[in-house]
């Protein structure tokens, strides 16, 4: 489904503080399975996730999505592609403060301009399935960490993406909430979604839902099982 060949990614290129976060990644990600990018801090996990999720372009190399080369697509097309294909859950959740849970969930669908009633129904269904109905109108800054994460998951799912991307999803959660998150992932994987995660949490890596673990170090793949 997603294929990376010879991907390298540099930051501050041409400057004294130039830094190569990815150093020649060749990777083929199969659909409908959960894959974890595992590795220590600074190994390039998040950078790899941003390249795969079309949030950033590779400096060198090619990224193909469903046999289509997307490395050189203009920003506008890349955004459209990202919106249709990927749903993101960020480590800090990145919810918009001052908006309610349901408003945050509906945000990614606004640029699509669909019917408001349908959109609201979809958002309410997601809130319901994530056991957040009672908090639908609460401002997100009033929610607990676990509730905020569930809002972030619902937001990632509102456009019904094929691939769910989560960066260090359990980094800010205790064990119980981490287990709950993995339970949600299992349900989503069961629905046939592809899931890409970064984590250095053994709980995630050893979870039953994870089918593949790609280990990174210094921007290179050092393990794949």
């Amino acid at each position: 489904m997603i294929e990376l060949s010879g991907v390298r990614k540099a930051f501050n290129q041409g400057r004294p503080n130039e830094f190569w976060a990815l150093n020649g990644i060749d990777l083929n990600i199969a659909p409908q399975q959960a894959t974890v990018f595992f590795g220590p801090s600074g190994s390039g996990k998040t950078t790899l996730l941003t390249v795969v999720g079309c949030l950033a372009r590779p400096t060198v190399g090619r990224v193909r999505l469903k046999d289509r080369d997307i490395s050189g697509l203009p920003e506008r097309f890349l955004t459209g592609l990202r919106r249709r294909t990927f749903g993101f859950i960020f480590q800090q959740f990145n919810l918009i403060r001052g908006l309610s849970a349901i408003e945050n969930i509906m945000l990614p669908a606004y640029p699509l301009g669909g019917d408001w009633r349908e959109l609201k129904e979809r958002a309410e269904f997601l809130l319901d399935s994530l056991r957040l109905s009672h908090r639908r109108t609460a401002r997100v800054e009033w929610l607990s960490g676990g509730e905020q994460q569930r809002v972030a998951i619902a937001r990632a799912l509102i456009n019904d993406p094929e691939v769910l991307i989560a960066d260090e999803p359990t980094a800010n959660l205790d064990t119980a909430l981490s287990m709950e998150f993995l339970g949600i992932l299992e349900t989503l994987a069961g629905q046939g979604r592809s899931i890409l995660l970064t984590s250095h949490d053994p709980l995630v890596v050893e979870s039953a839902v994870v089918r593949r673990v790609v280990t990174l170090r210094d921007g290179q793949i050092v393990g794949d099982r």
Binding site: R76, N94, G98, Y110, L112, G113
Partner: protein, 383 residues
């Protein structure tokens, strides 16, 4: 098309909630913005209404006024001048006018004293006067009240107030005192048969310039004043005053412009973060710019509408209480009158162009700068 409309609705909806989330900042900006529009619009509406009022009031004034000049100063018109002018072709009617100024030491103000043509609608009998609204207000005169004025000889003369001049004409009659010709001549010691100036009515108003040339030839010591010149003088007085007030306001306007530009051209870290999140979750750069553009438009349009409406009420309902002393009247007795509400499309458009557009446009550049940043910075938490 339906999708496009729905999308705009979503963007506006989000914009409104975004404005509400930064309530204090936006309300402060809105108040300041509204105040500036209010001040500018008040000056513009007021001077424009005054110009119209003056033009309407002068509609019944004579086409041409002839004054005699001696050594560069205005002098009395000799008796034979009226006959000389009456013989000119194109002159329908000639009328000698009597007017002057009376200084009231108690009010420390000048009244304009005139003797209207006898038999006219403003005609008054001997021993009577008609007074303007402001004179009546300041002295506390009512109809049939007595008023004492000091004649040129130092003698106190008592008059009965026969009439108060109408409020509709107050712009021109606020400081006016009308008395009969006989009283006027004896009060000021005016020689019989002589006049202050001559008012001419012409057959064809298109010919006034030719007629003015003929008068200058026939009476070389005369000064010819056309009605259109008086109107131009009023216009230039009001334009000049409007300019002075606008100059005084320009400090406030510039201060606001700097504040607004700074606000519009800089983004808080919260706003930058929000833009990054929107981009990361699938908003295009264009969507973000549109949303922020709507935000700028909403603030500037609301301020414009509020400011303009407040200015309209201030000028036409509350007689422009703030600017009255600066913009209205020309003597120390200021007229108090209700202006006829008018709207000038050109002035409205000018004000709109100079207040709404710059702000709305100033918001675009910083938003564009923030909106084109890579959304992966959100993933890294570096916004």
């Amino acid at each position: 098309m339906r999708i496009w409309i729905e999308k705009q609705k979503y963007l506006i909806d989000f914009t409104i909630s975004s404005l509400a989330r930064r309530k204090v900042k936006n309300v402060g900006l809105l108040c300041l913005y509204t105040l500036i529009v209010f001040l500018l619009a008040s000056v513009m509406l007021f001077t424009q209404a005054l110009r119209r009022e003056a033009a309407a009031s002068l509609a019944g004034a004579p086409d041409v006024i002839v004054q005699r000049m001696v050594a560069g100063r205005h002098d009395l018109i000799p008796p034979d001048y009226i006959g000389k002018l009456g013989g000119l072709r194109g002159v329908r009617k000639t009328e000698g006018r009597l007017w002057g100024y009376y200084y009231d030491p108690f009010l420390r103000a000048n009244y304009t004293v005139m003797a209207p043509p006898s038999g006219g609608e403003d005609g008054v009998s001997t021993g009577q006067v008609a007074v303007g609204q402001e004179v009546a207000r300041r002295i506390g005169l009512t109809r049939n009240a007595k008023i004492a004025l000091t004649a040129y000889s130092g003698e106190t003369v008592w008059f009965t107030v026969a009439k108060l001049l109408t409020r509709e004409s107050e712009l021109l009659t606020a400081d006016l005192v009308l008395m009969s010709e006989e009283d006027f001549r004896s009060f000021f010691g005016y020689p019989a048969g002589q006049y202050t100036d001559i008012a001419l009515t012409v057959t064809n108003p298109q010919e006034v310039h030719n007629l003015a040339g003929k008068i200058a030839n026939r009476l070389p010591d005369s000064r010819v004043i056309l009605r259109e010149e008086i109107l131009r003088t009023y216009e230039s007085i009001f334009n000049w005053r409007e300019g002075v007030v606008l100059m005084l306001l320009s400090g406030a306007v510039i201060a606001f412009a700097i504040f607004a530009l700074e606000k519009a051209s800089g983004l808080s870290s919260d706003e930058k973060r929000e833009i990054g999140i929107l981009k990361a979750i699938g908003w295009e750069t264009g969507d973000v710019i549109k949303m922020k553009f709507w935000e700028g438009c909403l603030i500037s349009l609301t301020a414009f509408l509020l400011g303009y409406t407040a200015a309209y009420l201030h000028v036409f309902r509350f007689a422009a209480a703030l600017f009255e002393p600066v913009l209205k009247g020309w003597s120390t007795l200021y007229p108090d009158f209700e202006l006829v509400p008018t709207l000038d499309g050109f002035e409205l458009a000018t004000l709109f162009f100079f207040t709404v557009f710059p702000y709305a446009l100033a918001t675009i550049v910083p938003i564009w700068r923030a909106a084109v940043t890579d959304p992966d910075s959100v993933m890294r938490g570096s916004l």
